[in-house]
């Protein structure tokens, strides 16, 4: 009996020692939990996070695991971790939520530390039914200017709300006083947004190239058939996508829905466009050596190139920027976004 107990102790000690050794090589712990600001495992945040986690696991010989817990729980989780054992990956909603005053979204630039950017999803899109009288986003803006009520299905406080705000602002700029004709239909999941379109309870919905492309290929007499009218990504970002685009819609076709072909003015002079960017968020007091280690690892991963192929295959644009640059870049982006939101309040 004593021999068995001794053997078990020895085995446990050996396993524990091997883990300690793995962790000792890097300032990062052997197990890293990447919490994401979405509860969905079918969305773009999970997809990007899984790709990044896989690359980091291989590069640093750690066990990085993605946990889809949602924004509030994710921010609470990293608030307890300064050693890098829990880090967060999310997109612009992390500060857009705060700009819209949504509960549970603190000022991440003050209360957390911004990590490196990793990718852009250029697929944020607005769609209408295939039989809609509005063929382009310009038709929609003109209709609102002529006094027609345009109902836009969005999720409040998210990046889709930003597109709605931009549409409203464009109407305000081109047809002052008519912006009230653009109204939000607040809803949640993509399924709900699609359903609103099927039911005729929304004129325009927010969606994505990835999620809605197949709907745009249905016969026009199908109740489910849709048409892209606007892709919010910047032209130069969308141009970096693979030429084959998504599904059977080529990059060239997609570019006809983005600025400048599809124009949503910001101030009468330049168009508004927005890249949905994914980046890491850390505890404000995270160890500097952890930040440096992740920056270094990701720089090497992106320089190696295979992650870029993986990301582009899934219609993402690789976009690595180290933490020290990302902080200033995203803060400036947030300040610009605040101007738009404040204009339409």
């Amino acid at each position: 009996m004593k021999k068995i107990a001794f053997g078990m102790c020895l085995a446990v000690s050996t396993v524990a020692a091997s883990f300690t050794a793995a962790a000792a090589d890097s300032p990062l712990p052997g197990n890293v939990r990447i919490v994401i600001g979405s509860t969905s495992t079918g969305g773009d945040t999970y997809q990007v996070s899984a790709i990044v986690a896989d690359a980091l696991s291989k590069k640093l010989d750690i066990n990085a695991k993605v946990d889809a817990v949602g924004p509030t729980a994710a921010l609470q989780a990293i608030a307890k971790s300064t050693d890098g054992s829990t880090i967060m990956l999310f997109h612009d909603q992390s500060y857009v939520g705060n700009l819209y005053g949504v509960r549970g979204f603190p000022d991440i630039f003050k209360e957390y530390k911004i990590g490196p950017t990793v990718a852009i999803n250029p697929g944020d899109a607005f769609l209408v039914p295939a039989k809609s009288p509005y063929k382009t986003v310009d038709d929609i803006l003109k209709a609102a200017g002529e006094g027609k009520r345009i109902r836009v299905a969005i999720q409040p406080g998210g990046t889709s709300a930003l597109g709605y705000t931009a549409l409203k602002n464009a109407v305000a700029v081109r047809f002052p006083g008519k912006e009230g004709n653009v109204v939000a239909v607040n809803t949640g999941s993509q399924a709900d947004k699609n359903q609103l379109l099927f039911d005729g309870n929304a004129d325009v919905i927010n969606g994505s190239v990835q999620g809605n492309e197949q709907y745009t290929r249905l016969p026009a007499d199908d109740q489910k058939a849709m048409r892209f009218v606007w892709i919010t990504a910047r032209q130069q970002t969308l141009q970096q996508a693979n030429p084959e685009g998504m599904g059977q819609t080529s990059r060239e076709q997609l570019l006809t829905y983005a600025t400048p072909a599809a124009s949503v003015t910001l101030d009468g002079k330049k168009n508004w466009a927005f890249d949905k960017e994914f980046f890491l968020i850390y505890n404000a007091d995270i160890k500097p050596e952890v930040v440096a280690a992740l920056d270094k690892a990701l720089a090497e991963i992106y320089a190696d190139g295979s992650i870029k192929t993986t990301l582009k295959k899934s219609f993402f644009i690789p976009n690595f920027m180290p933490a020290k640059d990302a902080q200033g870049y995203l803060k400036a982006k947030a300040d610009e976004t605040k101007v738009l939101i404040d204009k339409i309040k």
Binding site: G42, V69, T72, V102, G104, G158, G211, K224, F315
Partner: protein, 500 residues
């Protein structure tokens, strides 16, 4: 055909089997769910090709949904929310010394429900998906309302039952009106100082386990531990399972499986509504409806065939529209996303091989589930022969671990478990009806969202009556269900001595 056969290698079937077994274990442990099983194993599929990844996940899905019947029948704790109604008759059968019969009944019904829904998925997926999108917020609200009418048929006292149901709905609304469902993000009912704990309200599973599991343990603790032999349930003498128990139950099986499949294909309505509806309809249509809740086999048949009927149903909108039908298929969609494959209205036509391989996987998972559970059941059923003074601490520990794990380590979930364990214990003494309370709690948030969104979309209450022929038909069903329940209550009152 060659492409299909090349995907169906030994590894494929091993992964289906592995997934099913792990899924059953997840489903059987209170606090662990099919959704959790799929979510935990999802990253593993990144290293597999799509078909092998799907084999594992489909096994987990079917196993996870099916495993919930084991604790529901043996210890009165639903392993998953959709097995709540299995406790109504399954646990009384266990108390009557027939746990093995109840388990086998549940397993066979699960197999029927699973295969029924797989057949419906295979033959009618695109057509049904087109029909499903005719259900707007209004029709979905009416379906929830229809499911809520089960309260009338389940409760002993109509007034107390309705009060308990409304109380459950009220408790379900605690916390923030979630923006991810189109809410306004504002905190309701909860005072600000409690918001750090109750921001997201009470979690379903800890509440469920507390009310069903812990309250029973408190009840037993109050009685005190007596003689070991008196305290453990005896297994009935081993008898060969009589398939004749299904005699006259074909209609129940088909109706319940259809309800499960139908509810599954409506995104957002939820699996619990399926088993609740199937159970209430089985009771309403039965000539022996007074036997429901006392260990009546048709109750187990209805519940288990409907919750497994859900599996194929929830895959219909996923594979025909790219919209997950329930929380587990919402995780399942991640397997496609990770492989960079679009799931939408053209998925089946453009991915014929994947579709065929998935169908084979779904059928295989149901068969594996049946074989694994059927032959293990005699041993599993022996759990109830363990003396309660040994069994209950073990259950309590599992409940606490499960509650803590459900949201990745939130301590408040353990407090929720204890609070509602006490609530169930005290509430039962005060005459509160726990089943209607639970049903109100589960269906409350969906009822709220669909009611509010209907009004936001159409701006008038009359829309609930005039939206479509489907809405009118649902009102007829609701009226019939309520009317029949009232009639049954009155009839039973006349027949019982107190009513004389």
């Amino acid at each position: 055909m060659d492409a299909i056969l090349s995907s169906l290698d030994v590894t494929y079937f091993l992964l289906v089997t592995l997934g099913t077994v792990i899924g059953i274990l997840f489903g059987a442990i209170p606090g662990m769910t099919a959704t959790m099983a799929v979510a935990v194993c999802l990253p593993m599929t990144y290293a597999l090709d799509l078909n092998h990844g799907l084999a594992l996940l489909l096994g987990l899905y079917v196993g996870g949904i099916s495993g919930g019947l084991v604790p529901a029948i043996l210890i009165n704790i639903p392993g998953t929310p959709s097995s709540i109604t299995t406790t109504f008759d399954g646990y009384p059968m266990t108390k009557n010394g027939e746990p093995e019969k109840a388990l086998k009944l549940g397993i066979a019904s699960s197999l029927f429900g699973g295969l029924f829904s797989a057949a419906v998925l295979f033959y009618f997926a695109p057509t049904l998906a087109d029909w499903a999108i005719k259900f707007s917020y209004v029709e979905k609200f009416l379906i929830i309302l229809f499911a809520l009418t089960v309260i009338a048929s389940l409760c002993k006292s109509l007034l107390v039952g309705i009060f308990s149901g409304v109380l459950g709905m009220w408790v379900s609304l605690f916390g923030v009106y979630n923006m991810s469902t189109g809410g306004n993000g504002e905190l309701r009912i909860v005072p600000e100082f409690l918001s750090p704990w109750l921001e997201n309200g009470f979690s379903l599973l800890p509440l469920l386990i507390g009310l069903f599991g812990l309250s029973v343990i408190f009840e037993e603790a109050q009685k005190g531990v007596h003689d070991e032999h008196a305290e453990s349930v005896k297994l009935a003498a081993r008898k060969r399972f009589q398939w004749s128990v299904f005699k006259g139950q074909v209609t129940n099986l088909v109706r319940s499986s259809s309800i499960g499949t139908f509810i599954g294909m409506l995104p957002g309505v939820g699996g619990s509504a399926a088993s609740v509806l199937a159970y209430s309809q089985a009771k309403n249509f039965s000539k022996e409806n007074d036997k429901f809740g006392t260990g009546h086999p048709p109750g187990v048949i209805a519940s288990e065939s409907s919750n497994n009927g859900l599996t194929g149903g929830a895959l219909i909108p996923l594979l025909s529209l790219g919209i997950p039908g329930d929380s587990t298929t919402a995780v399942l969609i991640g397997a496609f996303t990770l492989q960079g494959i679009q799931v939408g209205p053209l998925f089946i036509g453009e991915n014929q091989t994947t579709w065929d391989v998935m169908m084979i996987g779904l059928v295989a998972a149901n068969l594996v589930m049946f074989l694994v559970m059927w032959f293990a059941i005699r041993h599993i059923a022996k759990v109830i022969t363990v003396p309660k003074y040994l069994l209950y601490p073990g259950i309590m520990m599992m409940c606490v671990v499960g509650a803590y794990a459900i949201n990745s380590g939130i301590m408040f979930d353990v407090w929720t478990l204890l609070i509602f364990g006490l609530f169930g214990f005290v509430g039962a003494k005060l005459g509160l009806e726990i089943a209607p309370f639970i049903i109100g709690f589960i269906l409350g948030p969906s009822a709220e969202v669909y009611f509010v969104k209907s009004l936001e979309s159409f701006g008038t209450l009359s829309i609930f009556f005039t939206k479509s022929p489907i809405a009118v038909f649902l009102w007829v069903l609701i009226a019939l269900s309520v009317g029949y329940s009232i009639y049954s209550h009155r009839k039973n009152k006349r027949l019982t001595p107190s009513g004389k």
